[in-house]
């Protein structure tokens, strides 16, 4: 068998195709640049916390990158699949190496990765920063429920499975959540805050919620914790500071004290016997 010489049509093919690919890519890129910060959500929640919104913007830019890179690669795939499908039994040119091209598609991904990493670190530092605050809530997870206590106040809320206890917190304020577990590992996940964190036995995990909208937000255990994992629900109710203070004060009435006492007793046997180590990304 002999090598078939490349026909002129073959030689022109790749050039033309690449021009076509470039033209196709130009449109979405231009659309994105022109639209500025009105990027689509790409399926994610815009978030009701300030840090969650930083995460959301990072998500948007990662998605732009993924769609451009993925789209470019898929177009290349589609091109070679159609353009180079078998038309004859002749043996094609046996090209094996092209160093400049190979180096190009090594360097460009490295640059992209550096860009992704830098933007990740910037957002990560915002999300894991724990600015000082006076509002602190202790969250304790147990099979299969949640207990919210407010250090320095009488307020205690506890509920199991579909009872979905409600954690009240003030809006436009940094709230330190101190998360522990009494038994197995649980996941404290509030989808609309774009955030989750493990509740680990023996570890006191501290992070900050900075809600910017009032409302009630659904939360759920995200880490498999046994039989009723599917039903381990809670709510986060974000209210104004004055409403929050009034709510805390409501536990100072005899009825409130009795309720808190009952809640404490109900979960006393759940309390961890281990010594918790303080833990927080970015310090507290």
């Amino acid at each position: 068998m002999e090598l078939t010489p490349q026909s002129p049509r073959d030689a022109a093919g790749p050039k033309r195709a690449l021009r076509r690919v470039r033209n196709l890519l130009a449109l979405p890129i231009a659309a994105i640049v022109l639209s500025g910060c009105t990027l689509p959500s790409f399926g994610a929640f815009k978030s009701d916390t300030k840090t969650g919104q930083s995460t959301y913007h990072l998500w948007q830019w990662f998605s732009v990158g993924a769609i451009v890179i993925g789209g470019f690669t898929l177009l290349l795939m589609a091109y070679v699949m159609i353009r180079y499908r078998r038309r004859s039994d002749s043996i094609p040119k046996q090209t094996q190496y092209h160093l400049p091209l190979e180096i190009t598609y090594t360097i460009i991904p490295i640059l992209i990765v550096i860009g992704l990493f830098v933007s990740t670190v910037v957002v990560e530092n915002k999300v894991t920063a724990n600015p000082p605050t006076n509002v602190k809530i202790d969250v304790n997870a147990f099979q299969w429920g949640w207990k919210f206590t407010y250090p320095g106040y009488n307020a205690v809320v506890v509920g199991q499975t579909t009872q979905a206890p409600t954690m009240e917190m003030p809006v436009n304020t940094n709230v330190h959540i101190s998360l522990t577990s009494s038994d197995v590992i649980h996941g404290f996940y509030v989808p609309k805050f774009n955030f989750s964190r493990y509740a680990l036995p023996g570890v006191d995990n501290i992070f900050t919620f900075d809600a910017i909208n009032t409302g009630t937000f659904f939360g759920q255990c995200s880490q498999l914790c046994g039989l009723y994992h599917s039903l381990m629900w809670f709510h986060v109710k974000v209210v104004t500071m004055s409403q929050y203070k009034a709510w805390l004060a409501s536990f100072n009435t005899p009825a409130g004290i009795a309720a808190a006492k009952a809640a404490n007793e109900a979960t006393n046997q759940q309390t961890s016997t281990g010594v918790a180590t303080k833990n927080a990304y970015g310090g507290s």
């Binding site: 090209t95 091209l101 281990g274």
Partner: protein, 566 residues
């Protein structure tokens, strides 16, 4: 036709015929054989049975999730279902299929060896794998049911207080046995590839599949002993009164996650690299060109392996106990060598003659699906993005894109090497049907799950009463999963239909590597003769001496023009 120019090297003396090696036949042969081909076939059959069992469990899971408050299974049964589905697919199918089944059969053939370096150890590997698989599956029949703490077995959920019962112990025992099986296979493959290569088969003339299996074997040796140690600790916690993972005795639960993922992330590449290798052998054959950037491909594999040992804690970003930036950059960097591989595959097809056999379709399906899984993996390497997608269906969708891509790679491997293994072709028409059901089913299955994850659906929940609006997307995902099930049935039908129908001949694909130089199936000790080995395509060079691969700089104006425009 070119014997005069390039006489084959005779590797076997004429003093005795191959037939004289014949030992027992029938069942005794299957039970006692140390022939890598028999063991490889045993592995293939066992692991495909595991794929079918694991797949059947997946269909039950998807059926349960069709409506928000389905009572097809109980909460307890659901926990067992997804635990056994994950465990079977990861421990009993994907790994053993990759490094037990196809590697066992193909690697000695690709390097021109008569067998594995340690044939009896190879047999031991298989029997450990089979007994480990049976041990794990037996958990289903115990009073408390099978293991139910997820395939990752996170402590302290997996300790004796939270999960009493024999099912969990059988899970640990099964894993220990299959773990040792993997370690022995790792030893065997490493020794075979380093010591049994035919004359002329230098390291840089090995097919990419063999290269990847060498790297996988080394990764196995680095990773699996850590899992074995962790499992022994877990067992000791359960039964010998130690407190390695329990807080009350001074232990640290997160230690289990560190140990598990120190095995578990290299394991991801232990699973993936063999399938990368399969498609890297298949795409050049059906493009009728050499692997584009062969050496770059090898270095990309080595880079992935090296990085894979330093990324384990990206599974633990939300524990609050790991150094986020380090594990983030290490994980992001893996995208670079993976991208190189994808561009090398495209470069191989570029300018080639692409033949759409089932093996090639499956390989292309693999590349596309893996690309989707890879891109969504980049999100998860970024800690802030992981915080809100962790433990949701976004993660489930991500790794199902990856692993179902691997299934496509595995199917490509079966359609490609099946004729070599059995001597008979698989039906291409049924193969194409299987491909389209599998490929469309996979995308239909994963895309709704990505969206569900973003809407806040956590993984491993049996009911979602509080948000019935998730039912729609779940329905689509289930339809996709059922389509994948149909594709598997088509495959089983094809195996039965094609049995002893169309003989394959030695080299049905006009392929490149040494296994295609011998008969199908190969004789005892594999080769009567070998061609001269002067590149990674000795059989191609033998059949097409005028069409050797071009070195860099040889007549490359066309591709140079191409580079200017990228």
């Amino acid at each position: 036709m070119t014997d005069l120019l390039d006489p084959p090297v005779v590797v076997h003396g004429d003093d005795h015929g191959h037939d004289e090696h014949h030992g027992p036949t029938g069942l005794v042969k299957w039970l006692t054989s140390t022939d890598h081909k028999v063991i490889g076939l045993s592995y293939t059959i066992t692991s495909v049975v595991m794929l079918v069992i694991g797949g059947a469990l997946a269909e039950v899971i998807r059926a349960q999730l069709i409506s928000p408050n389905n009572h097809l299974v109980s909460l307890a049964q659901y926990n067992e279902l997804f635990t056994m589905h994950g465990s079977i697919m990861i421990y009993l199918f994907a790994g053993p299929f990759a490094f037990g089944a196809l590697a066992n059969f193909v690697v000695p053939l690709q390097i021109g060896a008569p067998d594995m370096a340690f044939p009896r150890l190879n047999a031991l590997s298989y029997w450990l794998y089979l007994s480990g698989s049976i041990t794990m599956l037996l958990g289903v029949f115990t009073a408390g049911g099978a293991a139910n703490f997820g395939w990752v077995g996170y402590a302290p959920l997996s300790n004796a207080v939270n999960t009493p019962g024999a099912g969990a112990d059988l899970w640990i025992g099964g894993l220990l046995l299959t773990g040792f099986s993997a370690i022995f296979t790792g030893v065997n493959l490493t020794a075979t590839i380093f010591y049994l290569r035919a004359p002329g088969m230098t390291l840089f003339r090995m097919p990419i599949f063999t290269w990847n299996m060498l790297v996988v074997a080394i990764l196995i040796l680095l990773a699996f002993p850590v899992l074995t140690a962790g499992l022994i600790m877990l067992y000791a916690d359960r039964h010998f009164g130690t407190h390695i993972f329990t807080v009350s005795g001074g232990g640290v639960p997160v230690l289990w996650q560190n140990i598990f993922w120190f095995w578990g992330h290299p394991e991801v590449y232990i699973l993936a690299l063999p399938f990368f290798g399969m498609v890297s052998d298949i795409i050049p054959v059906f493009s009728r060109k050499p692997m584009f950037g062969y050496k770059g491909m090898v270095f990309a594999t080595l880079t992935i392996a090296a990085l894979s040992l330093g990324v384990w804690a990206h599974h633990m970003f939300t524990t609050g106990t790991v150094l986020l930036p380090f594990f983030s950059i290490m994980s992001l960097l893996i995208a670079v060598p993976t991208g190189i591989k994808i561009f090398n595959w495209i470069g191989t097809m570029w300018g080639g003659t692409v033949i759409y056999s089932t093996a090639m379709l499956m390989s292309i399906g693999f590349v596309i699906t893996f690309l989707i899984g890879g891109l969504t993996g980049i999100y998860l390497a970024s800690p802030p993005l992981d915080f809100f997608t962790h433990d949701t269906y976004f993660v489930v969708a991500h790794f199902h894109s990856v692993v179902v891509a691997l299934v496509m790679g595995g199917m490509a491997g079966l359609y490609y090497w099946g004729p070599k293994i059995t001597g008979y072709m698989l039906n291409e028409r049924l193969g194409r049907w299987q491909f389209w059901w599998l490929f469309i089913g996979t995308q239909l299955f994963t895309f709704p799950m990505y969206l569900l994850g973003l809407k806040g659906m956590p993984r491993r929940i049996a009911v979602y009463l509080h948000d019935p609006s998730w039912a729609n997307l779940n329905m689509w995902a289930s339809i996709g999963a059922f389509m994948i099930g149909v594709s598997t049935i088509i495959f089983v039908i094809n195996c039965v239909y094609s049995w002893k129908r169309v003989p394959a001949g030695d080299n049905p694909w006009d392929a490149n590597s040494l296994e295609w130089f011998t008969t199908s199936p190969p004789p005892h000790h594999n080769f009567y003769r070998l061609p001269k080995i002067r590149s990674e395509r000795p059989v191609w060079d033998y059949n097409h001496p005028e069409a050797r691969a071009l070195h860099h700089g040889e007549d490359h104006e066309e591709i140079h023009d191409m580079a200017k425009h990228v």
